[in-house]
Symmetry: C2
Subunit: 357 residues, 2 copies
């Protein structure tokens, strides 16, 4: 679900409170304090930036999977292959965020020496928001790429059934002003959460968002859970991109591919064997860092100095809106829908962990 | 211009004849036989695969630039930086295809040792079709990525003016059946050539392809050369992607950026300082090659076995249609429009190089 999709976002909780709440419960179900920090940090990163689809709304599912054994509490992450600037990891089906950050740090460490590093991962789980890892790389003054595969929820272009994931891609880079420029996009026209929200609100959706179980255009959001499928963004282009991301994150890593990846929200006892691909690029192997940042700053200023088109609210660089939301939410807290708040209150009781609102 | 855009494609020339014609003229204007081969090979690669926008239609412009000095006949390609799996080249403003293949070969050579290699390039020119390089990498059993920047022809999302190039991205990988799967997309909704063709044919174009000089939606294709701009595909997603490609191919390499890159068809005496980025991934650093190809073959079969959606002609993998066109054109020759044929005949006279039709 993208920003603004939650209905009735009026209850706000201070970021630190939510963070501590998640972290403590994760420790209670068995994660190390360090791993619990990473998972909570990824969730709050999403909520702070307005990407609420990947924020605490997912937290109950993560905990349920840990309790039911679909995700391992203490995975043994192993290097399977390592050669020069490439490394392949088996995450032992632990938390995707923990495995993802392990791979990201390794990629950065190696890129320090080799200029660039590709870290492939298999045996992982849902890794949260793709830009969590790229922003970490950009904050360490590298260019970062992050991609993952997932269960089949999207149709191929021209196809009548869900066959591939709307795989996300994130790329981030540091610039002069000190905050990263960051792209984070899924390969579907809209997120599944947006369709589910329309169904909840009894609203029609525009043609082009999904197809129904017969592969036909539809304006009824209820057709998605009833055997329908998301449609790729940009027609054949978004479809082609998701296939290539499946190759990099899934085929190359030895992970599950397409329908081999279980629906993680439903099959909570099944290890997922999701695959990721991280690329870290050490800018200083190409030019001096300050020079790079000045150049990127110039690009951003050039783009932003464009007059807005008719009806447009302005020109933004990738990730700029998220930065604005972050600033606001750091001050005013994270807005939560009643449904999400209820879920969290339930967990508060179950795990005897107070949630300060 | 994409496939099928040329009007009246009825005259066909055998591929080998066109190839020899281009190669000989390039040698006559001063290129080495080897460099002339690469440029001609890239042009014919495009025409064979139906990507006529990047085929021999561009040949007269390339030759004119070589004659006028905007592109150097015998550039001195130099390594500026080299560290582990990263290398940065200065192409000395020679032919983009020659510099691009130099970088591609170097990337593959290094990836043989380091598992992955990123070759950045500055001081280059228009490098033809992006997939020429990735298919070469896939044919050598690697996964290849290729991207370039270029002159500003596209608006930022929400902007009223052309400020950035519709930068292309290609990714290719080898699979069991022996021919590569290959994505090759530009970041605009449609190619500029498609708009120019509509103007020539006095046809309207759909809203969403371009904006006019005031940043307004328009159905008049003549608004594009009159200060208009192409629009990104997939709205903010295609826009965001093109910015990140500009960073990888332009900012990181020290090349010209955005409006610093001259319009190559117009400013034929000006060196372009275009930037490229190539990434070669050595599959065997991650898993055994045959295993990879079998896995990718399975993915392709799974996707292709999807029933087609209503009104669709079927499900194709990225690059499949191009393979079909290639097979047909190898047999039946390359179809050329009268306008292109006239241009080539003019060159035939000027350079006293026979063109067998």
């Amino acid at each position: 679900m993208s920003k603004g999709d939650e209905k009735g976002m009026e209850i706000r909780i201070e970021e630190g409170n939510l963070r501590g709440f998640c972290e403590n419960i994760l420790v209670k179900v068995g994660l190390s304090r360090e791993d619990a920090f990473i998972v909570s940090d990824s969730l709050l990163f999403s909520n702070l930036r307005g990407i609420d689809s990947h924020g605490v709304v997912r937290f109950p599912y993560y905990v349920r999977r840990l309790k039911e054994g679909g995700t391992k509490v203490n995975p043994r992450i192993q290097k399977i292959r390592e050669k020069g600037a490439s490394v392949l990891l088996d995450g032992d089906n632990g938390m995707g965020q923990v495995i993802g950050m392990y791979a990201t740090r390794l990629a950065m460490e190696k890129a320090e020496e080799t200029g660039v590093c590709l870290a492939g991962v298999k045996g992982s789980s849902h890794y949260g928001v793709a830009s969590y890892y790229t922003v970490k790389m950009a904050e360490a003054d590298m260019i970062g790429l992050s991609m993952t595969n997932g269960p089949p929820v999207m149709a191929a272009w021209g196809g009548a059934e869900a066959v591939i994931c709307n795989n996300p891609l994130s790329i981030a880079a540091p610039y002069q002003a000190g905050r990263p420029i960051v792209l984070d996009i899924a390969m579907s026209r809209v997120a599944g959460g947006k369709v589910r929200l329309a169904a909840k609100n009894k609203q029609k959706i525009p043609v082009g968002w999904i197809i129904d179980r017969h592969g036909r255009d539809t304006e009824d959001p209820n057709d998605l859970p009833d055997g329908g499928a998301l449609l790729p963004f940009g027609e054949h282009k978004g479809y082609g991109l998701t296939v290539m991301l499946e190759i990099l994150a899934g085929v190359l890593t030895g992970a599950g591919m397409l329908g081999q990846v279980p629906m993680w929200l439903k099959e909570i006892r099944t290890p997922l064997n999701v695959g990721h691909c991280f690329i870290a690029i050490n800018i200083e192997s190409f030019m001096d860092l300050e020079g790079f940042k000045k150049r990127l700053d110039w690009v951003i200023q050039e783009i932003k100095s464009c007059p807005p088109a008719e009806g447009s609210t302005g020109v933004f660089f990738p990730g700029e809106v998220e930065l604005q939301v972050e600033e606001e939410r750091r001050k005013r807290g994270i807005p939560l829908s009643e449904a999400v708040l209820e879920d969290l209150k339930g967990m508060s009781e179950t795990y005897e962990e107070p949630l300060e609102t």
